[in-house]
Amino acid sequence: MRSNVADFTLIAPPTLNATLEILACDSSLYTPIAGGTELMVALSANRLAQKNFLSIKHLTELRFIDATPDAITIGSGTTFTDIRRHAVIATDLPLLNQAASWTGSIANQNRGTLGGNIVNASPAADSPPALLAYDATVTLVSATGTRTIPYRDFHLGYKKTVLRPDELLYSIKIKRNFGGYITYTRKVGTRNAQAISKVALACLALLDNGVVRDIRIGAASLHETPIRCTATEQSILNQPSTPSTIAAARAALATEVRPIDDIRSTAKYRAAVAASLLEEFLRTLSG
């Protein structure tokens, strides 16, 4: 059944500061809405629990990509199309460029924002594995100030994050020090275009004479939140990528993922595919 649209309110404060002031007064009242690619679906399906919305789509202060020699900072209101069109992201952050191209259709990429993808906190979202692999930091803003934390500390549990109701995600920052890294990312869904992940990995590795000196593995749909597979990383660190390392890594991965059965796949399939993706990645590191 369709929602009665007259039951909902939506306001669009003119600036970021005005928005934060409203959230500071009574943050329990409002839910921010940017591109609407998640919340408007819930509206149509009559699944929206909230009644009052605060549009942040028009806030140009949140839509920017700032590339300095050291880092790339992306405003939370930046669309996936903006990300795909950015030349520095394409060359320096290929995992993020690829994730942006996997996020829905062209029409959804024109509306959907990186901040929305993060804050919506779906364990299956496309951009988090890349952001985890790149060890991004996120800056949260409220009327009382800003705080910057590692993105890996942002998700607390299923659809739970550290974001306070009076805060907005302001920006995402990634250091530009992945020049010599080998990258790997693969998403497995029901079909190639526009499917929501059954499993996805985004990985980076730095080799020195065949030995893995740094490794980062971000994963989607393998836990109640997007995760960094740290136990798996530890099993590979300072090792050459040999068959025995790969076997140990597969075993380590099994200890730290918690896939579930749901409408899109089964826990068993997810665990098996995740191990296969991991092996595919590690084989690219074998001399």
């Binding site: 649209v5 939506l10 669009a12 609407g36 149509s44 959804n108």
Partner: protein, 164 residues
């Protein structure tokens, strides 16, 4: 109710509507522009595709308040732009000639997605066409005739009448 002002197919409009009302519903119910269709209502099928400030969007996912001050182009605007010449838009003509339209439900969205695609890539490769139209589902044609139509429109490189 909120009054929202925007330009649609070149004409200034203002509409009083609940601010969370979907742009698709405003187009169809308030402005009687029924070219954009509702298929899935969740941004998967593309039958409600329109251009907003030149960007392809699903009008079922846009709350009307977010259309304030924008320029919107619907399938009615595509046809209107060439009416003076008493000819269909070249993209429409290509869809007709190549059998890219059958039942017609997806066609307005397909035409606007093609419009957007040809604006970016005047002569798109098959891969660019497949990606550009991946958000527009068609249950009739099997897509091959649609790809043929887009390629024909691309070969003619006819992107005249692109909205602002």
């Amino acid at each position: 109710m909120t009054t929202v002002h925007f330009k649609i197919n070149g004409e200034e409009k203002s509409v009083a509507a609940p601010p969370m009302k979907r742009l698709l519903d405003v187009l169809r119910e308030d402005l009687h522009l029924t070219g954009a269709k509702e298929g899935c209502g969740e941004g998967e099928c593309g039958s409600c595709s329109i251009l907003m400030n030149g960007e392809l969007v699903n009008s079922c996912l846009v709350p009307i308040l977010q259309a304030e001050g924008t320029h919107i182009m619907t399938i009615e605007g595509v046809a209107h732009l060439v009416e003076k010449n008493e000819k269909l838009h070249p993209i429409q003509q290509s869809f007709l000639e190549k059998g890219g339209a059958q039942c017609g439900i997806c066609t307005p969205g397909m035409i606007l997605a093609t419009h957007y695609l040809l604006d970016k890539y005047p002569q798109p490769t098959l891969l660019q066409i497949q990606e550009g139209l991946a958000g527009n589902l068609c249950r009739c044609t099997g897509y091959m005739r649609i790809f043929d139509a887009v390629q024909q429109a691309g070969r003619q490189n006819l992107t005249t009448g692109v909205a602002e």
